[in-house]
Amino acid sequence: MNWRRAALAAAAAAPVIALLAWGMTRDPKEIVSPLPGRNAPEFALGVFAPGEPPLARKVGDTIALASMRGKIVVFNFWASWCLECRVEHKDLSFVAQQNASKSVQFVGVLYNDVPSAGLEWIGKMGGQAYPSVLDQGARTAIDYGLYGVPETFVIDAAGRVAYKHTGPIPAALLQAKIDSLLAAPAVQSPAVQSPASR
């Protein structure tokens, strides 16, 4: 055996094997969002599902991110056709109720669905503690870099995306994120990102 030749072949193959091995450790479906740490994209969307007291909003009201500065916003995208949204639904309503007296606002966003189907789904699921809004043409969803539902964004009091969760969010994890933001010292609000900058 020619050892010199074998060592040369191994040295040539090693980087390729290392690259492939590194690729195997990655989830091709995982998209790293560039949003955490940045200003949350502005939105102003109409309520179609009012939620329940004390978090209820009137149907037709507009919920705008700009009007919620100083509050922690939990922004959850869902749909009636989404199976995994059933998994997190009770957890979200539970955490929303637990934090109703704090400076925390929950907003649901119906993604590529019709309001009647959304309302029927909420009824079947035993209600929703917080209001849900409509996103016509999925413009807000695209603005948030959404690629599926459920996805949840936790926006801090300064209007920055503090956390993005893909898939059903467990109650304990969501509560921990909210608690850490409530405990954080108040920060100066960054400049509001204009929706016209799209």
């Binding site: 998209i31 790293v32 969002s33 560039p34 949003l35 994209p41 590529n112 043409g137 999925a138 413009r139 969803a141 695209i142 603005d143 948030y144 870099g145 959404l146 690629y147 599926g148 799209r198």
Partner: protein, 170 residues
């Protein structure tokens, strides 16, 4: 009588002739043509950008090729942004700012991404070099084998000649 025939013939010809259509005013022709040209240019630019953006819920499909609702909505947004005067690069930058560079079907040729662009060319050149080296060695081995075979044949011939001479009677 002749006058009557002339009138009848004239009336018949008038009825048989194709209906005269008054041409529309020039402005009515020009405006739709200009609009359709602008629309087709916008459509072509939209298609060009959409072909390079990845459908977020598909496997390796662009938003131009995917029939999914989100792809069509993204395509509509591309068109809207181009219509408002943004350049194709601006539109791509918007999607990258939302979805990261993952949204581009072809990554930008910079930084670590250069590996994807340079590696095929380097591997191709490396392969060509290896083939050239191997072929050269084979050829050299063949030539030296041929030469040695020729030399041995000559040597054998000489031996045979010597033997022939030695076997010849004096």
């Amino acid at each position: 009588m002749i006058a009557l025939v002339a009138v009848v013939v004239a009336a018949t010809l008038a009825l048989a002739s194709p209906q005269v259509v008054t041409p529309p005013p020039v402005s009515a022709i020009v405006v739709p043509t200009q609009r359709s040209t602008a629309d087709s240019i916008l459509e072509a630019r939209t298609t060009e950008v959409a072909k390079g953006l990845r459908c977020p819920i598909c496997q390796g499909l662009s938003i131009q090729d995917s029939p999914s609702e989100i792809s069509q909505q993204m395509r509509a947004l591309v068109k809207e942004q181009l219509r408002t005067g943004k350049s194709p690069d601006d539109v791509r930058a918007y999607f990258v700012s939302k979805y990261s560079e993952w949204i581009l079907l072809a990554p930008e040729a910079k930084g670590f991404n250069l590996v994807a662009y340079l590696a095929p060319a380097l591997l191709f050149l490396g392969g060509l070099g290896t083939i050239a080296l191997v072929v050269r060695r084979w050829t050299a081995a063949g030539e030296s084998a041929g030469e040695s075979a020729g030399e041995s044949a000559v040597a054998q011939g000489a031996v045979a000649a010597d033997a022939g001479q030695s076997t010849q009677p004096d």
